[in-house]
Symmetry: C2
């Protein structure tokens, strides 16, 4: 079944958007919802909107909608904060579950903020914890009984290489380690089966494939059978069993809600809620099939037209997320030249040209046209123009 | 000089809004700005907006604007996350500055989430830290050389009682304790002189008197001379010296920016930025003078018309923030009856009727009319109607 639904998104004229793996485009419903929240809910109902517009239920409602996309049951996903914060919460909880072990295992391909948050937590606790970051292909061998927790990003942000979630989770559990998956480049990109994986925790962001908008709230999943034993490090009032009892002592909610922290970002949560409408009735298997068709086509076309570029992503679609990356020495400038021509991808240091494929708003015509532009920019050395050499602050 | 500027806010017909201490009303500029961010910046510029709309500078720009309202110098205020998260960051940093002490001193009137975050941090570190919460009036005597950090909310959320920021900070420093002020009910409500206070940290939210909207981002101040020694517990990539270098090791920014964590909530930050326009050219001394006039008038009118109610706030305006609270056994129902009549205040358990005064959009006519409604609801026992007895989820 086709998953193409371009009519649900505002896509600027003349743009082929291959950067939905960084910031998804504006959904039509999200624009309308923002107006509604600002003008009617906040503007007219004011503080009453917590009840009249049911703001109070919004974090859970949105969590449940995300849960349906990642194979997580109702009530197992909490929303809010940023992905960095959710990483911290999962890691801190995992260390409490394995109090006699001192190793945190990740990999060298993980997104930096995940590693930084681990470093910050290690410094805060200050009891000799150690962060290990072997190469991604060496992770399984590094899962020993010294490891308290394995924390990995499922799909590598640079190459798109995808870890085997079920197999690595089994390996972690075999030695008694807790498993945390970062789904930043997975949620809405590839099928995820949280329940089937058996992992204790997952975290993710919603501004990429879920199109929640710039700085959209993050999410955290906790396996339902363990959630009542989770000790929240960030014990905020919205995770309290009765937030409005104004109890002087923290008593965590008996659900994943205990992983909420402060007052929810209602405006951004509402926009995200509306953005999730685009996923209603979609099968992630259909999304995946379309994503692979588009990605494989892009690889084939770029390699055919433009042999200078080196594929940085796995050629095997089975171990690749919904992005394709090429290495090119002048990648930064080439991406700028492409953006000037309406083909928006992005660059990741030192030499990665990165292209994301979101089959909800991209079709084969877009992919062929994008590959043609890549070939022109590379083969005609358009990247060599001086105007593409100056780096902006966000690259 | 008058500070009244009702024309900058959307105020619903027939409403007298005395709950800006919980959620400020919608500023006209904020509504326009939300449309601009959604439709043009996100919708048209997509990922490019980090540069074209300068999203990347927004957290610092907004921090500097808040700094001007709380007497903090440029570059000393970071924005993002929630107040709960900012409390955790300040507390964790403070404990590292006093590694041989084990007592965290707050007071029993503090807002619960501040105490909860301390409890969560204590559990995470698990080295015998202790949270002490004497009554607010006993705090000064409890500042001993066992205390690592004193963490207080400047203005009590229930009664409006205001601590003496300068005196308590001096007492904390006299015994070598670090000082953290929570400005939730102070920023935009009363003059604050962060520099003059000498306190190491301050935190606050922006959805109350600053009118940033539901779930607006929080802020944190760190004293400029100590910020480079602050060890961030929440070591997110946006606090890194070079976020886009994708360095595997965390190196904190050499400024308050190290207290940023994850990707900033651009939509809510933009709305907050526009809301802060209302403060341009205002003197907090003028705001304070107007606030005291309105509050004193409200107390006088309610006590004259309605002797049944007991004032819960200090009578002395010098030790009272910008709110007035009355105790009344049937306070919950009375507040519902008042809301039905267009006078929006709120209730805090067990018996507090709470009214906030924001002189940017309230005048003496509003206050007199509100007091008349209070008298009618109480004296005619309107609160006794069965429809006001059922509690909603958010009270």
């Amino acid at each position: 079944m086709t998953v193409l639904r371009k009519e649900l998104f505002h896509l600027p004229e003349g743009v082929i958007y291959l950067d939905g793996n960084s910031l998804g485009p504006l959904p039509v419903n999200a624009e309308a919802r923002a107006r509604e929240v600002m003008t009617r809910e906040w503007g007219q109902d004011l503080i009453r909107a917590w009840n009249t517009a049911d703001w109070i239920s919004l974090p859970k409602k949105v969590g449940d909608r995300i849960g349906r996309i990642i194979g997580a049951p109702e009530g197992s996903v909490a929303t809010g904060d940023t992905l960095s914060i959710k990483v911290y919460q999962a890691l801190a909880a995992a260390l409490k579950m394995n109090p006699d072990r001192r190793a945190i295992l990740s990999d060298s391909g993980n997104f930096p903020t995940d590693l930084y948050m681990a470093q910050g937590l290690i410094g805060t606790i200050d009891k000799g914890y150690e962060l290990r970051t072997p190469a991604p292909e060496d992770v399984v061998d590094a899962i020993t009984d010294e490891v308290a927790v394995v924390m990995l990003t499922h799909v590598d942000y640079r190459t798109g290489r995808m870890h085997d979630m079920a197999a690595i989770t089994r390996a972690a559990h075999a030695v008694g380690a807790v498993m945390i998956w970062d789904l930043a480049h997975s949620a809405g990109a590839v099928p995820v089966d949280m329940v089937g994986s058996g992992a204790e925790f997952a975290v993710g962001c919603t501004y990429k494939y879920l199109n929640g908008g710039p700085g959209a709230p993050a999410f955290i999943y906790a396996r339902p059978d363990i959630v009542e034993t989770v000790q929240p490090a960030l014990a905020g009032w919205m995770g309290h069993e009765e937030p409005f009892a104004m109890d002087p002592d923290y008593r965590p909610a008996m659900s994943t809600e205990r992983l909420r922290v402060g007052t929810p970002p209602i405006l951004q949560l509402s926009v995200l809620d509306a953005a999730l409408d685009a996923w209603d009735g979609l099968s992630m298997d259909d999304v995946r099939a379309a994503s692979i068709r588009l990605s494989d086509l892009f690889i084939a076309e770029v390699e055919r037209l433009c042999p200078t570029l080196t594929l940085a992503s796995p050629r095997d679609a089975g171990v690749r997320g919904s992005q394709v990356s090429f290495r090119f020495e002048h990648g930064y400038s080439a991406i700028q030249a492409l953006i000037d021509r309406g083909v928006i991808g992005d660059f990741r240091a030192p030499d990665i040209m990165r292209f994301g494929f979101a089959p909800l708003y991209l079709d084969e015509g877009d992919i062929r046209a994008a590959a043609d532009h890549v070939a022109t920019v590379i083969n005609d050395s358009l990247w060599n123009d001086p105007k593409y050499q100056t780096r902006s602050r966000v690259t």
